[in-house]
C-alpha cells in the first residue's frame, strides 16, 4: 500500500486520544485528533479521513448528531465510523438512530480496536454496491428504491448526458469521469435541497433520482440549470462561443459535436399502469426518446393517464 490509512479521532478526553494516536501511529496509521465537537463536521468535510473513531462517553447526544450528519451525505456515508462506548451505556443506545459501523468498549482494549479497524476497512470493499466513482448507491439499491415507490406520490427521474461518448473520446477518460462526478453532486445536492429523496448511479452516464411528485419539475429544472452552468467550466473560450467542437460521431464520421447537456425522463409512480420495476424503465425509455429530440438539456414528464 502506497499511502497509509488516515484515521480521524474525536474525543474530548485528551489523554485518551493522545494514547490512541500513539498506538495507531505505531501501526503505521496516520491519526489526527479533534477534541472540539463543533469542528468535527467541518474538519471531516474539508479533509475526509479513511475512517473515523468517535468517543461517545462524554457527550453521546452531540456525538450521535454528528454521526447522523456525516451519514446523511452519501458522498461520505461509506467512511467507516467506530464508536468508543462504556459497557453500561452500550445497551442504552438505539442503534437505528446511531448509525455506527462498529463499536469498542471503554476502557479500551487496543488489540480489539485494531481488529475492528481492519474489519471495518475490509467490510467496505465487500458489501457496497455504491458506485466507486460517484459513491452513489448502485443498481441493487436503485431497484429496491423504485419497487418501494410504486403506487406512491413520487417521481422517478432518469438522467443521462447527451454527447458524452465523443467528449470522452476527445478529452479523455479522466475528464469524462470528472463530468460524471459533477453530475452526481449536482443531482445529489438538488435532491437534498428540495427536501430529500433518493439518488443512484446506474452506471456510465446514467443516473436515477427520486423525489416527491410535486417537487419533480423544480428538481429537474435545478439539475439542468446547474449542469448547463458547470459544463461551461470544461471548455475553452473558443468552444464555448461557437457552441460545438470537432469530433467523430458514433458512425466514425467527422461531425460538429455540441457541448454536453442532459436529458431527463420523469416517470410518475402513482400511475395505474406502473405495476412493476420493468415497466418503469420502459416508460422512461419512451420519455428519454422524446427528451433527446430537443436540442440542449431538457426534461420530459409522462403525463399520459392510461
Amino acid at each position: 500500500m502506497a499511502q497509509s490509512v488516515r484515521i480521524s479521532l474525536v474525543s474530548s478526553d485528551d489523554e485518551l486520544s493522545t494514547r490512541i494516536q500513539l498506538r495507531l501511529q505505531s501501526r503505521d496509521y496516520q491519526a489526527t485528533i479533534t477534541s472540539c465537537l463543533d469542528s468535527v463536521v467541518g474538519n471531516f468535510y474539508s479533509d475526509p479521513p479513511d475512517l473515523l473513531i468517535i468517543d461517545l462517553s462524554e457527550n453521546p447526544a452531540a456525538c450521535i448528531a454528528i454521526i447522523n450528519t456525516l451519514r446523511s451525505d452519501s458522498f461520505f456515508s461509506v467512511i467507516p465510523i467506530i464508536g468508543l462506548v462504556g459497557s453500561a451505556e452500550c445497551s442504552l443506545l438505539q442503534w437505528d438512530d446511531c448509525p455506527l459501523d462498529d463499536f469498542v468498549h471503554l476502557p479500551l482494549n487496543f488489540d480489539e480496536l485494531f481488529c475492528r479497524i481492519s474489519l471495518s476497512l475490509s467490510r467496505l470493499k465487500r458489501i457496497f454496491d455504491n458506485n466507486p466513482l460517484t459513491r452513489l448507491p448502485g443498481n441493487t439499491s436503485i431497484q429496491r428504491a423504485i419497487e418501494d415507490a410504486i403506487g406512491k406520490d413520487l417521481a422517478v427521474c432518469y438522467v443521462d448526458i447527451n454527447h458524452f461518448k465523443p467528449y470522452n473520446d476527445i478529452y479523455g477518460f479522466s475528464h469524462g469521469d470528472e463530468v460524471i462526478r459533477m453530475l452526481s453532486r449536482i443531482m445529489f445536492n438538488a435532491v437534498r435541497d428540495s427536501g430529500g429523496g433518493f439518488c443512484g448511479h446506474i452506471g456510465g452516464d446514467d443516473f436515477v433520482c427520486m423525489v416527491p411528485l410535486a417537487q419533480a419539475e423544480s428538481v429537474c429544472r435545478t439539475i439542468i440549470a446547474h449542469f448547463d452552468r458547470i459544463v461551461l467550466d470544461l471548455y475553452d473560450e473558443e468552444t464555448k462561443l461557437q457552441g460545438y467542437y470537432d469530433g467523430t460521431n458514433r458512425k466514425g464520421e467527422k461531425e460538429q459535436i455540441p457541448l454536453l447537456s442532459i436529458s431527463v425522463a420523469v416517470v410518475p409512480m402513482d400511475s395505474p399502469k406502473i405495476r412493476h420495476y420493468a415497466k418503469v424503465a420502459e416508460v422512461a425509455a419512451e420519455m428519454k426518446k422524446l427528451a433527446k429530440e430537443s436540442k440542449g438539456s431538457c426534461y420530459v414528464m409522462d403525463s399520459r393517464k392510461a
Binding site: D38, S46, D47, R181, I230, D233
Partner: protein, 280 residues
C-alpha cells in the same frame, strides 16, 4: 535571507485555514438556522469574503472532491452542496476570529472584487465571475503575512511610513518576499485554478502573466482604482501607476477609464453599506 523565505513558504504549505471576519460568520450562522435560506443568499455572503471563498474553492479543487476547474463560488456551492459549505464556514468561526484592524483589508478585497466585475462587464469580457473572484482573492497573501508573521507586519508598516515606499517593497525588505508571491504559494497549495492564481501572483507585475493576462490586467486596474478611491485600506499610502502592459492588454482609453471609475464610485456606496451591515 533565503531562510526566512523558505520558512514562510513552509508555513504557508501547512496552512489549511485562515481567519474570517466575525460578522461574516454571524451572517452565515443566521442564514443556516433558517432552513429555507437559498444557495444564492449564502453565495452572496461567502463571495464577500476572500478567506472563506478561498477555502471553499480549495475544497472543491482538492483531491477529495477532485473538481479541478472550479473557479467561482456559485459553481463550487453547486458541487459541494449547501450543507458542506455551511459546515466549512461555521467550523472556522470557533478558534479564529480576525482582529478589528483587518476590516480595512477586508473592505479593500471586497471592493476590488466588485470593481473587477464592473470592469470585466464594461469590456464585455468572458468569465466575469471568475475575474471578480480573482479580484476578491488578489491580496490573500496579505492576510497570511498579517496572521503568520505579525512581528514582520509591524516592521513592514513602519517601513512604509518611514521610507515612504509601497507595501510590496517593504515586504521585500523585511521578508525577502511579498504578498503576491505568498499568495502564489497559497494558491498552489490550495489547488486554486490558474484563472485565479495568475491574477493573485502577478497583479503587480502584469507582464509576467502569460495564460490569463486579461484577467490579471483587470485585477491590476481594479486594485489601483480602489486604492485611488480611498475605499478600505490596502496598506499602501500611495497609489501605484497603471502598468503599460495592462493598459495595452485591455485596449483602454482615457474615456473608458473615466467611465469605469464613475461606475465603480457609484457602486462603492452600496459596497460600503453592505460592509457596515456585516460589521453591525
Amino acid at each position: 535571507m533565503d531562510d526566512k523565505r523558505s520558512e514562510l513558504k513552509k508555513i504557508i504549505m501547512d496552512t489549511k485555514t485562515l481567519p474570517t471576519l466575525p460578522g461574516v460568520i454571524n451572517k452565515l450562522n443566521m442564514l443556516s438556522e433558517n432552513e429555507k435560506s437559498s444557495v444564492q443568499e449564502m453565495a452572496k455572503i461567502v463571495s464577500s469574503d476572500s478567506v472563506l471563498s478561498a477555502r471553499i474553492l480549495r475544497l472543491a479543487n482538492s483531491p477529495s472532491y477532485g473538481f479541478y476547474r472550479v473557479s467561482t463560488i456559485s459553481n463550487a456551492m453547486i458541487l459541494l452542496g449547501v450543507n458542506v459549505v455551511k459546515s466549512l464556514a461555521l467550523s472556522s468561526s470557533i478558534f479564529e476570529i480576525m482582529e478589528k484592524n483587518s476590516v480595512g483589508l477586508w473592505e479593500h478585497s471586497l471592493a476590488v472584487g466588485v470593481a473587477s466585475n464592473i470592469i470585466a462587464r464594461k469590456l464585455a469580457l468572458s468569465e466575469c465571475e471568475e475575474i471578480a473572484t480573482a479580484g476578491l482573492l488578489h491580496d490573500i497573501g496579505k492576510v497570511i503575512i498579517s496572521l503568520k508573521c505579525s512581528e514582520a507586519e509591524t516592521a513592514i508598516l513602519a517601513a512604509i511610513r518611514e521610507q515612504e515606499i509601497y507595501m510590496r517593497e517593504a515586504e521585500q525588505l523585511v521578508l525577502d518576499t511579498d504578498h503576491a508571491e505568498v499568495g502564489a504559494w497559497l494558491s498552489k497549495s490550495w489547488f486554486l485554478p490558474d484563472k485565479l492564481s495568475e491574477p493573485i501572483s502577478f497583479h503587480h507585475n502584469v507582464i509576467q502573466s502569460d495564460t490569463h493576462r486579461v484577467k490579471t490586467s483587470v485585477v491590476h486596474i481594479a486594485d489601483i482604482i480602489i486604492k485611488a478611491s480611498g475605499f478600505g485600506n490596502s496598506g499602501d499610502i500611495f497609489v501605484p501607476k497603471i502598468q503599460q502592459a495592462a493598459w495595452d492588454c485591455l485596449k483602454l482609453s482615457q474615456e473608458l477609464l473615466a467611465e469605469m471609475v464613475e461606475d465603480i464610485e457609484d457602486k462603492l456606496i452600496e459596497v460600503k453599506n453592505f460592509s457596515l451591515e456585516i460589521q453591525a
